[in-house]
């Protein structure tokens, strides 16, 4: 039996838990607790244990969906979490003060992992904050010499999250067929 992993990352409140929930076969295992630091202003409760979901495939294989902690002080664990993963889904909250800086931070933190796997970027909350627009994110990615799909995403919508993950799979292998 083979097990594969997709990692969801991004800042606090970007929708990682929700995104995993929208495509997981069961409600994700996650432990939300009252935030005790600066994150409280953005999200009264924040994930302090792993978000974990599963997609069961026909046969015995499973795709594990892991969400990293949003709080930056936990970033020392990311290398452990990502080992053996298929790729990274990065979710960015467009209402944050500087979402481009967030993107740079997360891509730099996962740079080695991304170079070996693939990246897809989902921008959330664009209905509340329409700027930065997607072309700005794409421009920044080109400056960073990163190739990735950048989509507007509503983490609650299964179709959005599904398309984002599909873009990740096609980035790994454009020859895949439905």
């Amino acid at each position: 039996m083979s097990n594969f992993k997709i990692v969801f990352s991004g800042p606090v409140g970007a929708g990682k838990t929700t995104a995993i929930a929208s495509i997981s076969d069961f409600a994700p295992v996650s432990t939300n607790e009252n935030a005790s630091d600066m994150t409280r202003e953005r999200k009264p409760q924040t994930t302090v244990a792993l978000d974990y979901g599963v997609m069961k495939l026909d046969g015995r294989e499973k795709i594990h969906l892991y969400g990293t902690p949003g709080q930056e002080r936990f970033n020392f664990m990311w290398d452990i979490l990502t080992s053996g993963g298929l790729g990274l889904v990065l979710l960015l909250d467009n209402t944050r003060k500087d979402p481009l800086k967030d993107m740079t931070f997360f891509i730099d933190s996962f740079r080695d992992y991304i170079s070996q796997t693939a990246l897809a970027v989902g921008i959330t909350q664009t209905d509340i904050a329409s700027v930065p627009r997607l072309d700005i994110y794409n421009k920044k990615l080109r400056e960073m010499k990163i190739s990735a799909a950048v989509f507007e995403v509503d983490a609650r919508k299964q179709a959005d999250v599904s398309l984002l993950v599909q873009s990740l799979l096609f980035t790994i292998d454009p020859g895949l067929e439905y």
């Binding site: 083979s2 594969f4 495509i23 432990t31 994930t47 244990a49 792993l50 997609m55 495939l57 026909d58 046969g59 294989e61 795709i63 902690p69 002080r73 936990f74 020392f76 664990m77 990311w78 290398d79 452990i80 080992s83 053996g84 730099d108 740079r111 170079s115 070996q116 627009r133 997607l134 072309d135 990615l141 080109r142 010499k145 990163i146 799909a149 950048v150 989509f151 507007e152 995403v153 509503d154 919508k157 299964q158 179709a159 959005d160 599904s162 398309l163 984002l164 993950v165 599909q166 873009s167 799979l169 096609f170 980035t171 790994i172 292998d173 454009p174 020859g175 895949l176 067929e177 439905y178």
Partner: protein, 417 residues
Amino acid sequence: MIFSKKSKVQQNSRTAVSFIGFDRRSEKAFEIFFRTYCKDQYYHTKNHTSSSITIVDMDCYKVEEEIYELHNSHPGRQLIALSLNQKRLDIDNCILVKKPINHTEFAKLLSSINAGKKVSKHAAMEPEKNWTRKPQETKYKPLHRETKPAASKSPTNTANAAHLMGETNENLFVGSNPDIDLQKPREFLKIIYSPDKMFQGALQRGWEKALNQQKLVELIFLSHTVFLDGKNHTASTALNDSVLRPMCLMESEDQVIIRLVDCIPSTEQRNKTEKRIYNYPIDAFIWKVSLWSSRGRILQNTDINKPVFLSEWPNLTRLQPIPHALRIAALLTQNPRPLGDISTELNIPQRYVFGFYSAANALGISGVSKRTADALFEPKTQQAPENRSILKRLLGRLAGQSSETQESSLPHTITHQ
């Protein structure tokens, strides 16, 4: 991870590790690390007495007291202290590891400790930040193209893609043109169109004006109006798809009036039949109009043998879906390629590639590559990854999910007046 009695025998051959200063999330991460990366050689115990190694988060507030307490009660205990700063502890058997942790190095460290090897007290393992992307395995071969005959392309493949994407009437967007023989220039006439002479061309010119001047532009064609908002990047019209689509197929020449306006007229000022206003993000509107106009064809004067580029992925969660769009985008963002080669490489009918290219070109994210090297070399077909069968099955699951709900999330809002 707390183990039951039945696994006690198994535990005896493994090394128990306890933690100080970590929250449950971090402990869980280590448990996964032990189980997967270290092949179950270690396990997490909450009991410091029974553990052989204790890992400490030195960045945890007032953790030192707990460490010294542990050291006093278990003086021989091997400690591994993780820290962002080079905090030192005056304790034997304590190895300092600088965060962030590199999992390969950390596994080696644990293995060395387990094997009783001597380890440096300062195992700083911050990974070298090599920001350059690893060279892709794609190699280049001299240009020599052959076009697969159209008959070899699987119609099932496209039918599956269309069905899974929820696109039930794909002919409206990509037409029904059969593949042409790219070696016969005479056949090119079948696959070209002139957006400049159509509503699409007027739309693009109008949008350019609105964007450059950051103002509202009104397009008037056949007494119908479309408003383009350069500030908010939106298009508004009372036209529904059943009127707009035929408009896109007509030659408009100079019949479209493009003019700057101050505001969208109020309900009273507008035609009484215009009860509803459809508001689109401008990209979604241009994409849709371009697909309707091109119907699987390419712009006149496009050199079919020259590589085309895609500078970025279209925002496909908010655009009209067409089969194979994700595959084409993924391939084309890797390297510029001639349009005919994309169809051959992906084993799909040419009209999907042509339609995608025309719409992406209208958005300004695709065009003919001007780099000489792109025309001289073609990228070698990428080797299929070892886990392709898993990826394919996962794709099938995901595509099934997206087709169930995508129609409802298509990009426009309706304002009732």
